[in-house]
Amino acid sequence: MKRHLLSAADLTAEDALLVLDTAEELAQVSARTVKKLPTLRGRTVVNLFFEDSTRTKTSFELAAKRLSADVITFAAKGSSVSKGETLKDTALTLEAMGADAVVIRHSWSGAPVNLASTIRGSVVNAGDGTHEHPTQALLDVFTMRQKLGRVEGLKVTIVGDILHSRVARSNVLLLKTLGADVTLVAPPTLLPVGVDSWPAAYSYDLDSVLPKSDVVMMLRVQRERMGAAYFPSSREYSRRYGLDVDRVSQLQDHTIVMHPGPMVRGMEIASEVADGLRSTIVDQVANGVSVRMAVLYLLLGGSESAIGSASSGASPDGAVE
């Protein structure tokens, strides 16, 4: 039985399109005076955020509330986690309180998978370490489809700190599933070991890739995950890999510029570009709510999930998977 969304790889093309189509209908709700649906009435969604987040946390909270679920948001600070409680015990506590779904953000890659094998409810990965962030990939793809009318065959260029980016990993997997061509661009130090085995091309030279791109996705350099210097200076990084006005002028007319946020203006993206007409940064945030509503509806709305992966661990109620 499918009931979790742990990785973008959990989604078949059919699943992903179901999420996107559902999100498209749900987007209308955000335009209404009564922004509320009764669909998840009586269900409890726990947001378990062990890492700082504004966008994703509020987005999931709003999505669950618009579907009438009861939402509890835990931040690691101020919870028993700071007293030394393990992830498993926290999860069991939440389970005992009757959580139907747990949305988890954690600095450990794999924490959601671990949680999924512990609890009965659905687990949604809201970003785990440098591993994955599947709902971000879904909202990015949703935005591409909204702006460009399709995903299949698009040339998507992802630029920046690929090594530490869960957004890049999830996007590569989902875009591959949906038939887009991905090119990763970064300095050699910020490309992961084994990038050759990813279903994407890679390059060290941004300027040669830009004119061919339909989508340019800029990533933040994640200094908080860096123990050492990966490039000589911010200035040098910015000159070689930052998206400035000159580089934007090389783009095709229809090309959009995306950024999952939070962005560092002047570093990976110039302010004029971030606020420019091609930028979809604000659309991405708005679409995030619709996409997360769709994910929660499809995971929790029925007797069993319509999307996602099976539990990797204990099967509740002795159900045959």
Binding site: T22, Q28, L37, G301, G302, E304
Partner: protein
């Protein structure tokens, strides 16, 4: 959506084993009459908004609007209202894909909303539609038009415009076929599929 979209009980049977109740000519006459009734009962349908429940309810709404236009030259705002997220049996099966909701630009506030669906059965779809409407605005009044009323209501709901009353048993299924979806216009009555729920 099937002809009997309401419940996890007697499902849709096999249309090939069904016998016709209405043929294309009869359906066309029935829709003509319903359009006339709509005009009569609403005094010219000046503030009517037609909202069809996907999938075949939307087609019925469009056909009613086309007939009203043919009779009086008046274009009724027509849209669709998906009720999936308001269903009371969501938890009984795996989540369904959503259908389109498309409310005419002027909205429904203060309007006379006429809901259209192909088959009226338990009344649960209409109950869900009334909830959905309440979240979209406040109509002056709400009426209901159905092509077939097959009885077996489980809620205090009735239709204002009925194409045809077809007394049925719960062991039977009503299949409404419309050219836009099924390539032919027909209403069939056949045995219900055996359901496992």
């Amino acid at each position: 959506m099937t002809a009997a979209p309401d419940r996890p009980r007697p499902g849709t049977g096999d249309p090939s084993a069904a016998r016709p109740v209405l043929d294309a000519a009869a359906i066309s006459r029935v829709i003509d009459r319903m359009a006339h009734e709509l005009l009569e009962k609403t005094g010219g349908a000046s503030d009517v908004v037609l909202l069809g429940i996907p999938t075949r309810g939307v087609t019925l709404a469009r056909r009613l609007a086309a007939r009203v236009f043919a009779f009086e030259g008046h274009t009724l705002p027509t849209g669709s209202l998906d009720i999936t997220l308001y269903r009371d049996d969501l938890r009984l099966k795996s989540p369904r894909a959503l259908e389109e909701t498309d409310v005419p630009v002027d909205g429904i506030d203060g309007k006379l909303v006429v809901l259209a669906d192909d088959v009226l059965f338990s009344g649960r779809t209409v109950r869900a539609a009334l909830d959905a409407l309440a979240d979209l605005g406040r109509p002056r009044a709400v009426q209901l038009a159905v092509l077939v009323d097959r009885g077996h209501r489980e809620l205090p709901i009735r239709a204002d415009y009925v194409g045809k009353n077809i007394p049925t048993s719960l062991r039977e299924a009503v299949h409404v076929q419309l050219t836009e979806h099924d390539g032919t216009d027909a209403v069939l009555l056949g045995p219900a599929a055996v359901t496992t729920t």
